[in-house]
């Protein structure tokens, strides 16, 4: 439906258009969204736990985690509130490298990411492995600020950004695809921006 009086003054140029998923607009800044206050986690108190169901597989403290290989990832990111930001530059540990360090391969098809604030979000294992996702520690070469999820956040750039859990403290393999925080509150179980899977009931 065409809106009376609305014109496409902000339409992105053709060369960037192909990088902007449906219903998204290009943002230069970096808006912050989260469900609660910003937790301040000191790196000396930080730890990261990999679990299979209730059972811990391996736990790393900050120094141990930083000893894992550091990988760079520069990607476009897409927030469900409709902004897309190009070429965000992150560095961190690939989920592949974390699993390798724990000496396992994905034991189930699904994971729940856990944050220090109690936040959870579900992501299929195939979307976190084969170089697709990392636990990011640096944004544009500097430690990620608390507002943006530091000390460590998940980065799953090909899904809507609520999947990239802030203040990450663990990944947990689950037998089934278990909805996390926003997924229980009306957001899409998978969240592919290219298929515009914003809310449950979207295709």
């Amino acid at each position: 439906m065409v809106t009376r009086g609305f014109s496409s003054g902000r339409k992105p140029p053709a060369e960037t258009d192909a990088r902007i998923p449906p219903g998204q607009y290009l943002e230069q800044g970096f808006p912050v969204l989260s469900a609660g206050p910003t937790p301040r986690v000191r790196t000396e108190d930080w730890s990261f736990t990999l679990k299979h169901g209730p059972r811990p597989i391996k736990k790393w403290n900050w120094a141990e985690f930083n000893a894992l290989p550091l990988t760079k990832m520069t990607r476009d990111i897409h927030c469900v509130t409709a902004w897309t930001k190009f070429d965000t530059a992150w560095q961190g540990m690939l989920v592949d490298d974390i699993l390798a360090d724990a000496g396992i391969e994905a034991p189930t098809g699904f994971l729940l990411a856990h944050g220090y604030d109690g936040y959870t979000t579900n992501v299929p294992a195939k979307d976190l492995t084969t170089g697709k996702a990392m636990v990011a520690l640096l944004y544009e070469g500097k430690p990620i600020t608390p507002d943006h999820g530091g000390p460590a956040r998940l980065l799953v750039p090909h899904l809507y950004f609520w999947k990239s859990a802030k203040w990450l403290n663990g990944l947990q393999f689950t037998e089934r695809d278990e909805p996390g925080f926003w997924e229980l509150r009306g957001y899409h179980i998978y969240g592919d921006p290219w298929r515009e899977q914003r809310y449950s009931g979207d295709p």
Binding site: M1, V2, T3, R4, G5, F6, S7, S8, G9, R10, K11, P22, G23, Y25, G29, P31, V32, L33, S34, A35, G36, P37, T38, P39, T81, A82, W83, D117, G118, D147, P179, F181, W182, E183, L184, R185, G186, Y187, I189, Y199, S200, G201
Partner: protein, 245 residues
């Protein structure tokens, strides 16, 4: 996900436009497919140009769930895209596409009980207003303190309505703080929300709050949520809604 709402796009007609402050105007919509919603939820609005280009933004619902028409209160950002469209182009009778209700976390119903501490900065008061109106219409006895920060007296959105409710002394308390002007009421402030101010607002509630809701720009929410935590409120009961930039 069986409980999650399906919220397809629908058209809604603007039935009334009411200027609230120099920068904020309310738009009232009649939905073609009315939906039930909870105080604090939002809708997504989508504008479409003749060539198919679309812009979409989220707007909190200001009306109480008891109201059939939906009120959105939109602040004009001069260099923005969607908010100037509403302020400069939209007229009564126009049809706009929207979907909702959306968001299932920043919500309150009288059955959730109280006391409540509501903290809004500028247009961040909008979803809190839905909660306050819901409380009034349901004759809820939940004690509620609303801390509302704006720059100047003329930017107090819903001012007459809020002061009218405050004057009833029925358990709703309005704390205004004007960041760029002297206070107009003896009990109000003229500085940014800080820990001391939160402590004094808490003292107006009979018991510590069961829930706290903080809404506004990101900078406002970060600062205000920290002030609540420093005033001894547990992070577990604080819910935030950030309008992004």
């Amino acid at each position: 996900m069986s409980e999650a709402p399906q919220s397809p796009w629908q058209t809604a007609k603007i039935t009334r436009i009411e200027k609230r402050t120099p920068r904020v105007t309310s738009f009232f919509f009649a939905l073609s497919r009315p939906f039930a919603y909870r105080a604090g939820q939002h809708v997504d609005v989508r504008l479409t140009a003749p060539d198919g280009y679309q812009a979409r933004r989220s707007y909190s619902i200001a009306s109480a769930p008891e109201s059939v028409t939906i009120e959105l209160a939109i602040e004009k950002l001069d260099d923005g895209e969607v908010s100037p469209f509403f302020h400069e182009v939209a007229v009564v009778g126009d049809e706009i596409e929207l979907r909702g209700p959306l968001g299932g976390h920043f919500v309150w119903s009288d059955s959730d009980g109280g006391p409540l501490l509501l903290v809004g900065g500028g247009s961040g008061v909008v979803p809190l207003m839905a909660m306050v109106r819901h409380r009034t219409l349901r004759k809820s006895v939940a004690p509620v303190a609303l801390m509302f920060s704006v720059r100047v007296w003329d930017e107090v959105i819903f001012r007459d309505e809020l002061i009218g409710l405050d004057d009833r002394r029925d358990g709703f308390d309005l704390v205004l703080t004007l960041t760029r002007e002297a206070p107009h009421r003896p009990s109000d402030y003229s500085r940014r929300i800080d820990t001391a101010m939160v402590m004094q607002a808490l003292a107006r509630l009979p018991q510590p709050p069961a829930l706290a809701f903080v809404c506004g720009s990101n900078a406002f929410v970060s600062a205000a949520a920290q002030a609540l935590i420093d005033a001894g409120i547990s992070a577990d009961i604080i819910r935030t809604e950030r309008y992004g930039v």
